[in-house]
Amino acid sequence: MKVLQRASASRYGLATAYLLAAALLAAAPLFTSDFRLNLLAKFLAFAIAAVGLDLLWGYTGILSLGHGVFFGLGGYAMAMHLKLQASGGKLPDFMEWSGLSKLPWFWTLFQSFGMSVILGIAIPSLVALFLGYFTFRNRIRGVYFTILTQALVVISVTLITGQQAFTGGTNGITGYGELFGYSLAAPEMKIALYYVTAAVLVVVLLLSRFLVKSRFGKVLRAVRDGENRVRFLGYNPAKFQMAVFVLSAAFSGIAGMLFVLHVGIISPSMMGIVPSIEMVLWVAIGGRGTLIGAALGALLMNGAKSVFSETYPEIWLFFMGALFIVTTVFLPRGIVGLVADGWHRLRLLGRRRKGVPEHERSRYSAV
């Protein structure tokens, strides 16, 4: 009975923490400046991508260095729609510079907002499905898969940079500022977009949590820990790997769309190798396999980056390199793991004083 009470006590504590975080998120527009709010909204968009990556890496054990591509594809879908709106029926300016006289057929799909949102989710998902189908089915996994995702980044960036007439090349797509005729820079719009992003993040977190707690999530973890055993039990691991890869690509696509609404530009440099691996670092720092840790990691790392990288760009790169090393060697469970361990120790300490027998202590594991 006592054990049950303790467990529920810690559960209440966690629930309070989550509620507090949600309240903080909801109240942020009240006490932050427009500039900071916009930054925070951008970080929340990153957090959405991080949660998707955590599903893939933390729970299924598949490391993708290609999520920048999915993020970018979502971003491009939204940017194409905004650009068409801004051009008002004429050809977008960069197409004119490159000598196009007619709108390419695939651009016409992005004239409606609803269609653009659908495509912003569907295109990354389809790319992920394509790569996933041709790799997981053949049991190409682990490091081999990771290298292939990195190659996907390289070719996507080269392709988008090279096809300047259709994609805007190195400059990316920019020069728009209105959604449905409302200015994206207006304070009310900023606040509305912030709430949309925060709401999407909460939905993504809840959905991921639901999946992780379900039977599906159990199989994912089983695939991570012993793929062949899962196969011998009669499951097809490839299907689960594909499903989670597609889902996580879709999350990244959504994040990319929101990112463009906040920032007003998307370019190949935002989907390259470095941004893609930075996403992995967010998850690693926060704590892989914890969902909330991934979101926290994204917020913390980006917050730190925006503070330090502008004032000390040199030190920032050293710092980031060191973080990669330190987290993988010393902190494989990230910040959340660190906090959980500390909490666990604290409780053990308290219990020892109260005289709980040794064999019972080991039964309490940190959440």
Binding site: L63, L131, F134, T135, N138, R139, I140, G142, V143, Y144, T146, I147, L148, Q150, A151, L152, V154, I155, T158, L159, T161, G162, Q163, E227, N228, I273, I277, V280, L281, A284, E314, L317, F318, M320, G321, A322, L323, F324, I325, T327, T328, V329, P332
Partner: protein, 301 residues
């Protein structure tokens, strides 16, 4: 016709550089299951070692000796990268055995630090390395086709490295130990092979080869802190395509990627060519998921 020959030659030339880079990767990955993302930065170390050798020759030795600096710099870049690789293995990599994805992230961090270090020491802009005069010009085959001596020299250098690696792996006692550890680590350890020592030696030699590759790259263009990142992804693709465990796989992978790359880029354009090469690799992996040469083993995972 000359154009096709030139493309073919360019393809082989690119392949040879990829091969030199991928050799070290294939060996460390095959042996220790470690993905060394800092390999590109070891290339950079080799390139800057060449640059420093050149500066020393310019500053302290008579001008007539200058042309000979390059031969010495090959050695210097190998030694510099070898030592850094050895240090890296002793300090970091050995804690990451059995965790390939973690080794990837940690070595990426090492790469970032090394890049920033180079930027602090040598400055962010690229520096030029003056090639020795005996490598200027080219070998004229027909009136329309001339093969640059630099590219030919790189081909020769890669051939020498490949031969040396072959002899080391297949004809020496150290190489035999290395193959034993690669095929069955536990058994090799039971038979009294110090797998720790073999690991550090292998890693250091792979790093040294990256250094030589960096030295070769100074002949092709200016060098900068990010020189390695340009080649590293392609080099990893060579390993994926060629498989690990045998030299011939790596050679095949490098030739496959180098040749198809230059052919597709000639037929279409640079950006579409890359996409086509990637699709070809994915298609090839449908046929041989473990790459061209797979090491046969009875272990399940």
């Amino acid at each position: 016709m000359d154009v096709v020959w030139l493309q073919l030659f360019n393809g082989i030339s690119v392949s040879s550089i990829l091969l030199l880079i991928a050799l070290g990767l294939a060996v460390t990955f095959g042996q220790m299951n470690v993905i060394n993302m800092a390999h590109g930065e070891l290339i950079m170390v080799g390139a800057y070692a060449t640059y420093l050798t050149q500066r020393l020759f310019q500053m302290y030795l008579p001008a007539s000796w200058f042309d000979q600096y390059f031969l010495l710099s090959i050695l210097a870049s190998f030694v510099a990268a070898f030592l850094i690789g050895l240090l890296l293995e002793k300090v970091l990599i050995r804690f990451l055995y059995g965790r390939p994805l973690d080794s990837l992230l940690a070595t990426w961090g090492v790469g970032l630090v090394l890049q920033q270090l180079a930027r602090t020491l040598f400055g962010a802009p690229n520096v030029g390395v003056k090639s020795p005069s005996w490598l200027e010009g080219g070998l004229t085959v027909t009136s329309g086709l001339s093969l640059p001596y630099k590219r030919l020299f790189i081909l020769g250098l890669v051939a020498v490295c490949l031969l040396a690696m072959f002899l080391y792996i297949y004809r020496t006692a150290a190489g035999r130990r290395m193959r034993a550890v690669m095929q069955n680590r536990d058994m090799a350890a039971c038979l009294g092979i110090s797998t720790r020592r073999v690991d550090s030696m292998t890693f250091a030699i792979g790093s040294g080869l990256a250094g030589v590759a960096g030295c070769a790259l100074t002949l092709i263009g200016p060098i900068g802190p990010t020189i390695g990142t340009y080649y590293i992804v392609d080099a990893f693709m060579v390993v994926v395509l060629g498989g690990v465990g045998k030299l011939v796989g790596t050679v095949f992978g490098a030739l496959g990627i180098g040749l198809t790359n230059s052919l597709f880029e000639y037929w279409t354009d640079a950006s579409l060519g890359k996409v086509l090469v990637f699709l070809c690799i994915v298609a090839f992996l449908q046929w041989k998921p473990k790459g061209f040469v797979a090491m046969r083993t009875r272990s399940l995972d």
